[in-house]
Amino acid sequence: MKLQVNNLYKRYNRRYILKDISFTAARGQSIALTGPNGSGKTTLIKVLSQIVRPDKGEVHFSIGDTVIPREELNRHIGLVGPYLQLYQELTAYENLIFIAGLRRVDNAGDRIKKLAAEVGLEKHMHRAVHTYSSGMKQRLKYMFALMGDPDYLFVDEPTSNLDKAGIAWVYRLLARWKKEKVLVFATNDEPDLEFADKVVSVVS
């Protein structure tokens, strides 16, 4: 399992947000993206997650020697970020069943139960998302990202909106994830950097 980023460029209007970004990460490696506000960390996470297309450069996802085709990529990627919203009118359970359906998760009900117990939302699964606090929404976003058991996890500001218990859970997840999969996270918090094998500084 490997992520390879080659000479990535992205500009909005005439300003380059990303300029010549390259790095690689293999299974069991984690990358932290750091840089001042507005430096392009979020844009880079969005490009890696296939939400935004780069102007130049390539992002390759591969398992063994096989490059994952673009049309299959979304089944392999999980993303948690402040800009990624869930459907507010639907309950947490309905949101998760929705993603489970798209990712063809077997025994989705059991998986939801297990993840809900892990993040401490088991009693709130049948509440509409708009009734959730920002911390609960952040936990739910992790559940949403982990539903399909993705091979690549991208996290923008991993601990934002979380209380101490939530942060502790995220740190346990990051520690586990960096061993098993490919993890890329954007942060400026010093404690988060402990989970990085490599730090990539993003400067626009």
Partner: protein, 220 residues
């Protein structure tokens, strides 16, 4: 892919069931328009040709009032990025198109009998009317869905949807009016006059073009 389309379509249905935003807009608009037209005409006798035009005006403008909602709600709720992350563009377009088609079909099932009842006239060729309206439904939903995707990202949306949709949907409306005129006036007229062929051809072109363009619009 059909599995993805079905999951996405079910999500849109569930959202609509909760919020009722599009269904309220389209039904209220059509009923108000129909009432306004009916009052303005009063007891004056009007020709079947004008009735055909009035029917299509009610249909097209009701559709315009509801179609833009399908992508706008994703942008406004900031769930467009979520959709991009979890699904491919083609199933997204097809699910949205299916939703708009269903919405307009439901409206037509109410508005057409109501229109015939309010203006108290006899349709001479009902199969032709139903076929032309069905093909018009598909054309309106195809054009409306792609323009909705286009304007959802614009900062000044306002009347943009109607302005951009109108030239695309005008051929459907013009040919639909012509087919309805035949259906209202000519008993025993053929089921497949040139109007039906034209509507079918325009539907194929509009649907295929919309499907091909959607990837660029959605990801740009």
């Amino acid at each position: 892919m059909f599995h993805e389309v079905w999951i996405l379509f079910k999500k849109d249905l569930l959202q609509e069931f909760r919020s009722k935003a599009a269904i309220n807009a389209i039904f209220l608009f059509s009923i108000v328009t129909l009432t306004a037209v009916s009052y303005s005409i009063g007891s004056h006798a009007i020709s079947d040709f004008i009735l055909a035009a009035l029917l299509w005006i009610v249909i097209v403008f009701s559709a315009l009032s509801a179609f833009s909602h399908i992508f706008l709600k994703e942008e406004e709720a900031q769930t467009a990025d979520t959709l991009k992350l979890i699904a491919q563009p083609t199933p997204i377009f097809l699910s949205k198109w299916l939703f708009n088609t269903l919405l307009l079909t439901l409206l037509l099932m109410v508005i057409v009998p109501l229109f015939v009842g309010v203006f108290n006239f006899q349709v001479k060729n009902m199969p032709l009317l139903l076929l032309s309206i069905f093909l018009g439904d598909i054309g309106l939903a195809s054009g409306g869905t792609i323009v909705a995707a286009l304007i959802a990202k614009a900062s000044r949306r306002g009347a943009l949807f109607s302005v951009l949709s109108f030239p695309i949907l005008l051929p459907v409306m013009v040919v639909g009016i012509s087919a309805a005129q035949i259906a209202f006036t000519q008993e025993g007229s053929p089921l497949f006059p040139s109007e039906i062929t034209a509507l079918f051809a325009y539907d194929v072109v509009l649907f295929t073009t919309s499907l091909m363009l959607f990837d660029f619009i959605w990801n740009d």
